[in-house]
């Protein structure tokens, strides 16, 4: 057989290149373009190399925002993943109640993100909010998320747990339902305790869905914007200003496009790095 040697196959890949170019590479390149220039106005620009990157990396406010962001994402994962697993384990496995629970759980996922922020403003306000007033009046705890940094943090965190734990629950529930009955039967024949069933059957079988859950929750929480923006506006002070809000202030509030572009690239690389770390860690855990 004579094999025909030519490069026509590349033609078939062109549509993908075009789509990826328009959806990712070209927009990203404009950011790269901004990040290495100082722009005074239309047509007035100077190439300044890595200067914006240096400035941004040395910015104290950015360091604070980054640590705040890391702490927030870490807490989100530490709370939502175990809580999601627990709720998924507690859900019924058959009967009409399954659909009922799943629909109730999925409701927060259907609400637009800025609406969620607004719901929680109304819910947590110390003067009229159901939660805020209850905490202040009935429990006699001084709570005010607009003036107290700690209260603001707790509120943003609980809001995120309320909003996103259902996603983890749904993923885990799907993972649990995919385990054949024979595993549970074998475990009961082998005299395994509930904990052993969880540790040696359910958890290993949920590994793949948990990988997805951890990655999604990490990325989403690391990029969180709308809800704290509506709820606290990043305050009080800068106490709930996370990275994306910091970026928006810089780019749109102060119109510092150069530093904002440099920071966007750094931000992107951080997300990429952490996602890769999580993915590698989880996939290697069992090998």
């Amino acid at each position: 057989m004579n094999k025909i040697q030519n490069n026509k196959a590349w033609l078939l890949v062109i549509p993908v290149f075009v789509i990826v170019a328009f959806s990712a590479i070209i927009p990203l390149m404009t950011v790269v373009n901004y990040s290495v220039q100082d722009i005074f106005g239309p047509g007035q620009r100077v190439f300044i190399g890595t200067e914006w990157f240096k400035e941004v990396l040395l910015d104290e406010r950015l360091h604070d925002a980054l640590w705040r962001q890391l702490l927030f994402s870490a807490l989100v994962l530490l709370i939502e993943i175990p809580l999601g697993i627990l709720i998924a384990l507690a859900l019924p496995t058959r009967g009409w109640s399954v659909s009922l629970f799943l629909i109730i759980l999925a409701l927060p996922l259907l609400i637009p993100w800025n609406v969620i922020g607004f719901i929680w403003i109304v819910f947590a306000r110390p003067d009229i909010g159901l939660a805020g007033k209850t905490i202040n009046d009935l429990l006699s705890i001084d709570y005010n998320f607009t003036s107290n940094a700690f209260d603001a943090w707790i509120t943003v965190l609980i809001m995120d747990v309320w909003h996103w734990t259902p996603l983890v629950v749904l993923l885990c529930y799907a993972g649990l339902r995919a385990i054949p009955d024979a595993y549970y039967q074998a475990a009961s024949i082998d005299g395994a305790s509930k904990w052993a069933v969880f540790r040696y059957i359910q958890l290993p079988k949920m590994r793949e869905v948990l990988t997805i859950a951890v990655l999604l929750r990490f990325m989403d929480s690391f990029l969180i914007y709308a809800e704290p923006f509506v709820l606290t506006g990043g305050g009080p002070g800068n106490s709930t200003t996370f990275l994306s809000q910091f970026l928006t202030k810089m780019a749109i509030g102060q119109f510092d496009l150069g530093p904002a572009a440099a920071f966007s690239l750094i931000y992107f690389l951080i997300v990429l790095l952490f996602s890769w770390l999580f993915y590698t860690a989880i996939t290697h855990i069992s090998q």
Binding site: A182, Q185, A186, S188, I189, D190, G191, Y200, I201, P204
Partner: protein, 361 residues
């Protein structure tokens, strides 16, 4: 090891069963002896696995009691019944090594380190798993995984019984044969009570001392392989066991003879009389192995036409036509056959009579 008593066991998957068809398992009463090797044989969906799960406690029967050594265990969960069960598809704890997999049932019951390791090594040796003992079970072949599942069933030496639910389905034929022999050896060595579910008659007949044939939620016969072969209690068993199955001919009774297609076939003395008392639709049943095919007419032979001959290596299956009936006859490979006309001889001792499908004893 223990004796298993099933007292009026019945099971329906839906609540409030009213008619027989509602039951996955129809009421039955059996005693399975300590140290016996029992096979539950029957077509798919006949209730074999249901019965097995009732014994292991994975399923609580809707009626009746289960006794192990005369102790009522009906309400005990699986964990407390001290039963081992091996399933159709391999169940492996992915994150564990082969050793840990085999040790799991022992460790869960609080056995000491030395005991666990001694027992696991012994079972691994028996099943030839020693070379992979410290590998992760997840990365092994389906065969090896099922062998590990078998091993987990065998690792506890104090179990009441070991139940196998079609354990060799996923195993390739050569290894199947080896494992079956191994199980048989283990049974002879340790005198365990084994219950083995299968839909494969060869597997059942070679493995078990006693075979329990089931169909449609009912136990049709419990007997040795020889009894099932020579005296099937039901036409279903005659069809189901043997290859090809038993020949059945609808007949009428005339004196001590059965009459079919105008031909008279001799029966054992008294048999026709007992059948008349039973009444119903009469059939005679005779295995292809117990029919003789001759070239010349002899005493009591019937004239038949040869319809087909299949040579199966060391024997031949000859299809012969007797009136409107087609019968299979098993003959030696070297027997000379006439072209068309032949003579068929029945042996009265091996000719069975069935009334409404049930053996007339």
């Amino acid at each position: 090891m223990a004796r298993i008593d099933l007292q009026k066991i019945a099971h329906a998957y839906r609540p409030h069963p009213s008619k027989p068809a509602d039951y996955a398992l129809k009421p039955m009463d059996h005693v399975w002896e300590d140290g016996g090797a029992y096979a539950l044989l029957g077509p798919s969906g006949c209730g074999k696995s249901t019965l097995l799960n009732v014994i292991s406690g994975l399923l609580r029967p809707s009626e009746g009691r289960v006794l192990f050594d005369r102790r009522d265990v009906t309400d005990l969960p699986t964990k407390e019944r001290n039963i081992a069960q091996v399933f159709q598809f391999p169940v492996i704890y992915d994150t564990m090594t082969v050793f840990e997999n085999l040790a799991f049932p022992l460790r869960n019951r609080g056995f000491g380190r030395e005991q666990v390791s001694a027992r696991v090594n012994e079972v691994a040796e028996m099943l030839e798993l020693t070379p992979v003992l410290h590998k992760r079970a997840q990365n092994l072949t389906a065969d090896a995984k099922q062998t590990i599942s078998l091993g987990r069933g065998l690792v506890r030496s104090d179990v009441t019984a070991i139940l196998f639910d079609e354990p060799l389905t996923v195993i390739d034929p050569h290894l199947k044969w080896l494992l079956r022999r191994k199980l048989k050896q283990i049974h002879e060595q340790y005198k365990l009570t084994l219950v083995y579910v299968t839909h494969d008659q060869n597997e059942a007949l070679t493995f078990a001392d006693k075979v329990v044939v089931m169909n449609d939620g009912e136990v049709l016969q419990l007997g040795t392989p020889q009894e099932l072969f020579e005296r099937p209690a039901h036409t279903f068993i005659g069809h189901f066991i043997g290859s090809p199955g038993m020949n059945f001919l609808a007949c009428e009774l005339d004196g001590a003879h059965a009459v079919t297609s105008g031909e008279r076939i001799a029966l054992l003395p008294g048999l026709a009389e007992r059948a008349r008392q039973r009444g119903g639709r009469m059939e005679i049943g005779v295995r292809p192995e117990f029919l003789r095919l001759r070239n010349e007419a002899g005493d009591g032979t019937l004239a038949v036409k040869i319809a087909s001959v299949r040579d199966l290596g060391n024997f031949k299956i000859v299809g012969v036509r007797l009136g409107e009936h087609l019968l299979n006859v098993k003959v030696a490979e070297d027997q000379d056959l006439p072209a068309e006309q032949a003579h068929l001889g029945f042996t009265a001792e091996m000719t069975r009579l069935y009334a409404n499908g049930v053996l007339v004893g």
